[in-house]
Structure formats: C-alpha cells, structure tokens
C-alpha cells in the first residue's frame, strides 16, 4: 500500500520476498515422538514464503523424527490432487497440505480419510474446514486490520492516499488481509486508496518499480525523515525484516510460521500415533501475526521467520 498526502508520501507494502535455503534433515532418532511416521507435505507452489515455511517444516520434522515426503503442485489443482493420490497410494501416515484450490482439496481430503489417513491443512483453509482434521493458519483479516490501524495512527487526520500492493485476488490470505486493512480505514475518509495492485505473490517487480518512483520523487527516506514514506508489510520475510531493522519500514506483521509448521506435524502425530481426536472447537487454529517495529525489534525478531539467520 502506498499512501500519499500533501506533505508526505506513505508506502505500505503487503509483500513477500525471496529467501533461499538449503537444509539437510538430520538422522531420525527412534525415541522422537514422530519416529516411524511418514508425512506427505503437499505445497501449492514454491516461492519465497513457501521456502521459508519449508525450511521450518524440515526443521520441525527433524526435531520430531518424522520423514517428510515433499510435493509441490506448481499452482495446479490437478497436479496437487494427483500428488495427493500418490501419497495415499504410498500409504503415508498423514498428509499436511497448503491447498492451491480450496474447493478441489475437499475431494482430496475425502479420499485421504477414506484411506484412513489424517489430513491437516496449513496457511490456506479448505472451503469447508469441518472436513479436515485440523486447519492451522495465520489470521489474515486480523493482520490486515492491525496494519490499517497502524496506518490510521500514523497519519492521523492528514489527507492520505494509498497504493495497495495486494497478495493475490485468488488467494484467501491476500483477499482477507486486504479486507481487514480496508475495514480499519473505512471510517477515515482522509485515507483514500488510489491504486490496488495484485502482485500474485510476486512483489519484486512492483516493489522495484515503487522504489524507483519514490527515489525519483525524492520520497525514498528512512522512518522519521520529513519525506518518509510509511511502509507496512505483512509476512515477516527477510526483506521486510531487513527493512524494519534498518529503519526503512515502519512496521511488519510476521506470520508465525514456525508455530504453524510444528503444530501441523504435531497434529499428525497426535492423530496417527496417539489416536487423539481433535475437538471441533480446536479444529481451526488461527494464529495472529506478530507486529514488529524498530522499537521492539530486539524483543520480537527472534520470532520473525525472515529474521532467522
């Protein structure tokens, strides 16, 4: 989102960025809680945020002694369905998925359950959460709401224009963040969205363009400078972390993916190994994002996935 008033231009970016990683899974110990379990991890696509999640999934799997069978659907519902079929045929002990298509995955869930395999969704909820054993995700509406409230607090009554860099119109998280943000500013007529840009979770070209435009207008300045642009970002990716730390961005909202990834595997252990039944009230876990700023950076950065070394 980019906000602009007479004196000052404000930029708030809902964006993810790149993070490369290579991790190795350590040897499994038989006394770990998930020892002997094989879990199929079906990701909808691979980009920076998913790489961050995958890194933490691998770590959690290693910590719990679980063998991960990784599949990436490449933004294709058919491929994801086919990959899940393969996992079912391989008789894995559980399936953890980030669905590409929240409707199509319902069929996959049904097939997995018919084969006696627990199914957990993460990050993007299926259309009907009552079908899944458990869903663990961020709280995109809440994150958007907090970002909007922060913007309202920062600009006060000043006339302000906003450029809204959205995630993707086809993704629940992108849409809900946007909805939350708009909800927060709806009673503030001084704040006006002048442009909405769906980045399809590929924000780099847009962000690059925005930075160039701001530099050209001499608006590219750090927090506190008179010509500073307010930047708010949701995800907590490495770029966002660096920008907050160095004073270029006002606040970030980090999705707690460490907790999400570990909880999803723990849920499989609970169901497949310990035969626990997850109560209906606990079926959906929505974890709000963590607000991190330069002021609280020292106390929050350890829990921001993009700040991890």
């Amino acid at each position: 989102m980019l906000t602009h008033n007479r004196q000052k231009v404000s930029l708030a970016a809902l964006a993810a960025s790149l993070m490369t990683l290579v991790t190795a899974m350590p040897a499994r110990a038989d006394n770990l809680p998930g020892a002997g379990l094989s879990v199929c991890l079906s990701l909808d696509k691979m980009q920076a945020f998913r790489e961050g999640e995958l890194k933490l999934w691998r770590k959690a799997a290693a910590d719990l002694g679980i063998k991960l069978v990784e599949q990436v659907a490449g933004e294709d519902a058919q491929r994801q369905s086919s990959q899940i079929d393969t996992c079912i045929a391989q008789k894995v002990n559980g399936i953890v998925a980030i669905p590409w298509d929240n409707q199509a995955v319902l069929q996959d869930i049904e097939r997995a359950h018919a084969a006696g395999i627990p199914f957990v969704t993460v990050d993007q909820a299926p259309a009907d959460t009552s079908t899944v054993d458990t869903h663990i995700g961020g709280n995109p509406t809440s994150d958007g709401l907090h970002a909007g409230r922060r913007l309202v607090a920062l600009v006060g009554d000043k006339p302000t224009t906003v450029v809204d860099l959205q995630g993707a119109l086809s993704a629940v998280n992108g849409v809900e963040r946007d909805k939350g943000f708009k909800e927060a500013i709806k009673n503030h007529p001084n704040i006006k969205i002048v442009s909405e840009v769906p980045t399809e979770w590929h924000p780099e070209p847009v962000l690059g363009g925005m930075e160039n435009a701001l530099q050209k207008a001499n608006r590219y300045a750090q927090v506190g400078a008179p010509n500073h642009v307010i930047i708010l970002s949701i995800d907590g990716d490495p770029q966002g972390c660096g920008a907050v730390k160095d004073g270029w961005m006002d606040a970030g909202y980090a999705t707690p993916i460490g907790e999400m990834t570990r909880n999803s595997l723990q849920a499989i252990i609970d169901i497949a190994k310990d035969h626990k039944k997850i109560a209906d009230k606990d079926r959906v876990q929505l974890l709000p994002g963590l607000e991190y700023t330069k002021a609280n950076f020292s106390t929050t950065s350890d829990n921001v996935w993009g700040c991890a070394k």
Binding site: S81, Q103, L169
Partner: protein
Amino acid sequence: VTKSTRPEHQLDNRRSGFAESNHPRPVRTRAPGLGLFMNVVRDVPMLPIIVVVSIVLSFTIDGFMSVGNLQNIMRQLSVILIAVTGQTLVLLIGGIDLSMGATIGLASVCGAFTMHYMDSSLLGLLACLATGSAIGALNGFGVARGGLQPFIMTFGMMLTVRAVAFLMTGGFSVGRLPKALLQTGRMNIAGVPLVFILGVAVALFVGFTLSRTVFGEKIYLTGSNPRAAAFSGIDVQRLKFQVYLIAGATAGAAAFVFMMRLGAATPTAGDQLLLQIIGSVVLGGTSLNGGEGGIIRSCSGAVLVAIIIKSLEILGAQFWDQMIVIGILVALGSALGAWLSRLRTRESKRDDATELLDHLPGATSVRD
C-alpha cells in the same frame, strides 16, 4: 527385384493408426516382422516407447503397476485426452489454439455456476459445451474470416477469457457442485475410472471422425496444402471455423470432466494445462506445420507424459524436475517426428520413382 502394387486403400503414414486414405500409395516391402514394427513406429512413434518405458518402470519403481497407481494415471489423463483431441484438429489445419487452457477455466466456471444455481449436472454440461463452443467460434471467426494469425487471435482470446473468468469469480474457485456429479466422477467401471472412459470415448469419436469421414480428409488436405484444398473445392475458411469451433467444444467437455474429477471449478484451471496439451500433441508426433499427425499419436504423447510424471512423482522428484524431463522429451519427440517425416517423404519419392519405372516399357526397379 520387386514390383509395386496399387491397392485401393493404403495406410497413409502421415496419420495415426486410425487413418486409412483413399489416396493410392505404393506398398513398401520389408521383412514381415520388422515391417510391422516400422509401420507402428511411423504411425504412432510413442507407442513402442510407452511399452518399453512401462516395462522398465514396472521393474524399477515399487508399486508402479499397482491398480491404485494405474487408476491415478488414468484419472490424470482424463481431462488431457479430451483436450488434446481438439488441439490436434487445430494443429492439423496448421493453426494453434493458445486459448484452450483459459477456455477450460472459463467453461468450468460457467458450468459450475449453472450447476450451483440450477442443481442440474446436465445443464452444467451444456453450459460448459456452450461456453467452449462460443469461444471456439470466436477464434474460428477471427482466424477464418478475419484473417488473423492463429497465434495472435488465440493468444488475445486466452488473455480475455482468463480475465472474464477472474471477473466472474473474483479469482476464487467455485464448489458445492451436485453430489451426483462428484459421485459419478469418483466412479470406477470394472476398475477403470469413469472419467478416463469418458476421455477415451471422446478421443475415439474425434479419431474416428478424423480418419473415416470426408470431414477428416478435408482437414488433412487443408493442413497439407490450403491452396490445393481450395482448388479441390474445399471451403477452407468454413473448415477452419468448424475446426476451431470443435476445439472449443472439446475444451468445454474437458472442463466438465475437470469438475467431475476435482469437484470444483477454478478460473486458473487451464493455466497449467495448455503447455501439457500442446506438449502431448507435439510429443506424439503431430506436426505444428499442419497436415500430419492424428488422434492416436496425440493421445500416445499424453499417455507418455502422464506415465513419466507419475513415475517421477513416486520417485520424489519435484514438478520442476518433471518439467525438465518433459521438456527434453518433447524436444526429442518432435525431433523423432521430424526424422520420421523426412523418412516417409524420402520413401514416398522413391516409391513414386519405382512406380514410374515399372510403367516404362522394359524398365525394372531395384529395391532394398
């Protein structure tokens, strides 16, 4: 020393095994076993490769030949089999339909909305077919009457159709389809998924039309030489319009099967399908230049792609690894197709020369 013969109906090797031409061609004489094998290689180049690959994979990949895995492969093929038939027709007339994937997306959305509000699978099917046909008709009109390049026309259509699908849905998929449709989509008949049977049925129907009807003859002739086709009385523009219309209708049918398989419609349904469709057709040996290829060839390409993808999946390869393998396969497959095409042309010329010699008084032809 042999003499050529001129039977009334000879296998025309430009086509798949479906094809039987009325155009007389000389017989090639070879050792019986090798001749049959070479004919198969010429007509469906991927068939021997599919057999060899399947045998190798069944010994090397645990569970490859299991019923569950074969059913998975068949389900995976169901949508593609239908879509490649339409794309094959378009390529045979020297065109291309880049909007096919997007058409599948929009048709699925229209079909899903229809089913959602009317609670009728039949009306949903009709909506899919109508949407696909309408888009195909627009493509056909633009290419045949408007004289637009097929690449440009269908590329523009792809962007437009995709945008319309997004506008209709806001980018979200459409679910809550009639239960009967979902149950039918999961049904097996004698262990074979119904969706696969539907795919095969469409492929057989289009294959039969292409190889056994005057309409099919016209398609081959138009693709081989549009000017000659026009001189021989074929209304080339009308034929092109009809082919794009049929291709659109097959995309609509593919969209319906897509919904049966996944239980949802999505505007992005065809985004990933387009390359797979064109890749399968080219890999099977249908020429991008038109006039050469056939339904069995294209279907064999689709089968090979599906087998390779599923095997790599079982082996734990990621989709980008699969894409590399498929990319290499398509390149090799098209190279093989081009080589076989040259081989056929050379043989045809040699046979024609031999035939000419046979008709010259006192002349003989020496053959290999």
